[in-house]
């Protein structure tokens, strides 16, 4: 269910590498179920420099505020205005219409620091076990 071609962080963001060192990023399905109804997104403007695993923005669910972390370093190229206007898209379609920003990566070798979908599936399964103990 987590797309094969995406890469994943331990903070439950994904990045989908595209040609030209670009990549769209968003929240994983696990992240959106943990956050609950998402009602507000604070995303950086195009041109903002971001650093891998550092804070990129904030997400607000009905209940609480959480940080969003950058899956790769670089510069924000584009922000998904549709998701800012309709944050529930993150809940409804986290890997598609619910994408957050597009990043121009400064060092695509950083993707090696991320998990592939199999590794991320296992990572999430481990979290669920911990949670049910």
């Amino acid at each position: 269910m987590n797309p094969k071609e995406y890469k994943y962080t331990q903070e439950h963001e994904w990045i989908c590498p595209e040609s030209g060192n670009k990549g769209k990023m968003g929240f994983t399905d696990y992240a959106q179920t943990q956050l609950g109804d998402i009602v507000f997104l604070d995303l950086p403007a195009p041109g903002t420099k971001v650093e891998q695993f550092k804070k990129l923005g904030e997400v607000e669910s009905v209940k609480a505020v959480s940080d969003i972390f950058a899956p790769a370093s670089g510069q924000v190229l584009e922000v998904n205005q549709t998701v800012i206007d309709e944050p529930k898209l993150v809940n409804e379609d986290p890997y598609g219409a619910g994408w957050l920003v597009k990043i121009e990566m400064s060092d695509s070798s950083e993707l090696g620091n991320l998990m592939n979908s199999d590794e991320y599936d296992k990572f999430v399964a481990g979290l669920s076990e911990e949670g049910s103990e």
């Binding site: 179920t33 943990q34 009905v62 209940k63 609480a64």
Partner: protein, 359 residues
Amino acid sequence: MVVLKKTPLNKVHHDLKSKLMDFAGWELPAWYTSILEEHKATRSGAGIFDESDMGRVWVIGRKAGAFLDGILTKPVQQLEVGSSQLSLLCLENGGILDDLWAYRVGADQYLLVWNASNIEQKLDWLHRWAGSDPDIIIVNTSLDTVMVAVQGPSVHQLKSLESVSHLPHFGFTQTKIGDISVFVSRTGYTGEDGFEVIADAVKALPLWESFMAEGVKPCGLGARDSLRMEAGMMLCGQDMDTSTNPFEAGLGWLVDLGKGDFVGKSALLEIKSQGVKRKLVGFQIDGREIARSGYKVVKDGKEVGKVTSAGPSPTLGINIGFAYVPIELATLGTEIEIVIRHKPVTAHIVNKKFYKRGA
């Protein structure tokens, strides 16, 4: 590791795969499917809430009424048997220990229903003032019983509640739902019409099931919080506590200074005569930003207060909250700023009852 207390409905919350959280030491669902869905179901249909975390304490005996009148801010002995009222439990200095419902069940029998937080402190407080008098007996039944709230405009269409539909607001009765003996009151904490039901803990599952069978939607703490906030209802421990007095919290209507002596009365008389310096107000954010509990309130670049409860209002589609502000800023329409993500954001003071039923 802290082991959370389980309500008699704990298994239900697990089976429904709810998102569980720690609430005042209880393991309770933040939501089952979605806070927004649950909130809307309660505003438009009917929702059921596990409120077993709340305390249920009997005070019985020949002097029970006189005892309660000596520690509560509203007179209970004037209540008719079969009716109830909201009241405050204050410290000697007027600080708020809790708000609670007092039900007069019999001439010398009262049931107190209070919040989950500081249960031990509140029980100790009762025992301290009751002393060793055999005519004042305090019985904590919180762990032996289950309590659910069934709330929303369609509660009167539910078969399970048909026999109590006639109850006046704040009235209560002891009756049966199916073959389960229950204590039912027409009360709630959502701003909707509805009932609260108490039964023996062993009957928790069949009681829950009877409402499930009628399509009532399970609702978690998230919706409980957003519903009460929209309706302008305060949560003790968050919007007021022992460091706040009833007049600044906007709860002066729960204090009857004309009744006989009670704990905190002289302090409250003094506070009232001097007037309060700050006040809990409702605010609405002008833009789309969301305030949260603990955020700073700013006026002309100076910090003047703190947000106590805040969040989105699912019914109204605006972002709302409560905050303490200096009395000179506490008038409707005053512009204030809330610091959200290090940026001051404009908000206006509005009536705390953001949502009114039938409006």
